[in-house]
Symmetry: C2
Subunit: 291 residues, 2 copies
């Protein structure tokens, strides 16, 4: 399936418009903080999470344009997690999306505040910009709250791992740290469209598998890719003594798991009710990164 370029274009336009509005609405005194807050959102990035929101809405026959504020919220939440995760006290990474990390560009103090502001701004965007019935907006908020809570729990497990992590622990940690927000992206689309329960379950199973597969591929790439291709330092996991599918299980087992997850995702997406072509295109690209 082709990658949904029309959704990526719509999302990029939305972000660019928000950035222009922010530039004119900010006082001189706070303009440097607004600039620092936009910096990690960057011009690139895969935009996986917002595109999953929009592709889920499209698959269920919903209004993609109306879902844009929810997609923005997911990208800001993801960006908040990157900015804080890159801090010296956490992963201590220097490069992200091909540029110096926010704390290197603006200082550690400002990076902490930028992350806080992005998380808060994500909720603010849903509260003030998402036009939909109140019950659906409440459902979106509940999905975001749960996704962020799980993601933070996963980050905690990541920084306080057990002495001897096994594959079950790895799956649990990744299901929280990375899977939660990918699942929440699909779940946000579901909250907006409110399909029948069986449809919802099928989409969530897909989101779940994609979250796992994404992290396995990420771990493989960290061990085998280059800084330039990744836009962040390759080999960072081993250098930081992180517990990943590669460092714990070995590269061969990790590759096998990635192939199995790709196959399972293809199966799950093919069986989705509705018109899941865009979701299939996104999943294909997630796994193609590995080739």
């Amino acid at each position: 399936m082709p990658f949904p370029d029309h959704l990526a274009a719509a999302f990029d336009e939305e972000l660019a418009a928000l950035r222009r509005t922010s530039a004119t609405a900010t006082s001189d005194e706070l303009a440097p903080f607004a600039e620092a807050s936009w910096y990690p959102v960057g011009a690139g990035g895969k935009r996986l999470r917002p595109l999953l929101v929009l592709a889920t809405v499209e698959a269920l026959g919903g209004d993609v344009a109306a879902a844009l504020p929810a997609a923005v919220a997911l990208e800001w939440i993801h960006t908040f997690s990157l900015v804080h995760d890159d801090l010296p006290a956490l992963d201590d990474d220097d490069l992200r999306r091909g540029r110096p990390t926010t704390h290197l560009a603006y200082g550690e103090d400002v990076a902490i505040l930028v992350g806080d502001g992005l998380l808060n701004g994500a909720y603010g965007h849903v509260v003030s910009r998402l036009r939909c019935p109140a019950s659906r907006r409440a459902a979106v908020l509940a999905v975001l709250v749960e996704g962020v809570e799980e993601m933070i729990a996963g980050q905690y497990l990541d920084v306080r791992p057990p002495d001897v992590p096994d594959e079950a622990w790895l799956r649990r940690m990744c299901s929280l740290k990375t899977g939660a927000l990918i699942r929440a992206s699909v779940a946000t689309g579901l909250a907006l469209e409110a399909p029948p329960a069986a449809t919802e379950a099928a989409y969530l199973a897909f989101g779940n598998e994609l979250g796992l597969g994404f992290q396995i591929v990420d771990d493989v790439l960290d061990a085998t890719g280059t800084d330039a291709a990744l836009g962040k330092p390759a080999g960072s996991d081993a250098a930081h003594d992180k517990r990943t599918f590669v460092t714990v299980l070995g590269i061969d087992r990790a590759r096998d798991l990635a192939v199995a997850s790709a196959a399972r995702c293809t199966e799950l997406v093919a069986a989705l009710p509705g018109r899941p072509e865009a979701l299939a295109g996104i999943a294909e690209r997630v796994f193609a990164r590995d080739r």
Copy 2:
């Protein structure tokens, strides 16, 4: 006016019940993170912000028990801001509410995640626990979003001050950094009760003045109090080269401003429609700290 001990007791009971529920609902793996997240909420603290929510609701004849989840959200937001503000990259403080700060007790990485989780949990609490019409819940969320956004903006100004700060800048910075959340606490009560516009304006003017007065008194106490009395290091502002009402304007001018703000608060609270006795008691205690 006497301090509203009945509201403080209701709030403490609510927090204790939530803490018990959290202890039984958390998996073994995440129990240490739940413990770290409760640690900065502590057993003490003035609980100024949640009490302002409850006192505003009481003043307007509303249901105090129903407002407890909103009060909890305000306290968690305040605690999130303290945990991040105390980090080495920001204020680098060792003592808070009479105990080692969260990053000293649990590590800087965990403290960052604890702060993130408290902010997220505050929104989660309002979304899942606040029982009220959807439009009022939406109004509460909008108040919180704005309060946090302003608070973060104030923290930014605090860490990136101009070369020569003047009194106007100080007032603006404090109105954001400290005032925003105190104003938001009163505004949360207003969002829940939705009084007429003139009543709302009178309450907001009071909240605004109280936020300013609170910060001036805090600055005076930092310069004149003891670690034990403050539950945090005295003289921290000067040691950290912070721009405060005392360090910029001098102790005499700061004391004069505190007295003027106390008088203005007394006037404003006396003129409030409704039954603002609890608010008056809270304001009295804020300014009595200085004596």
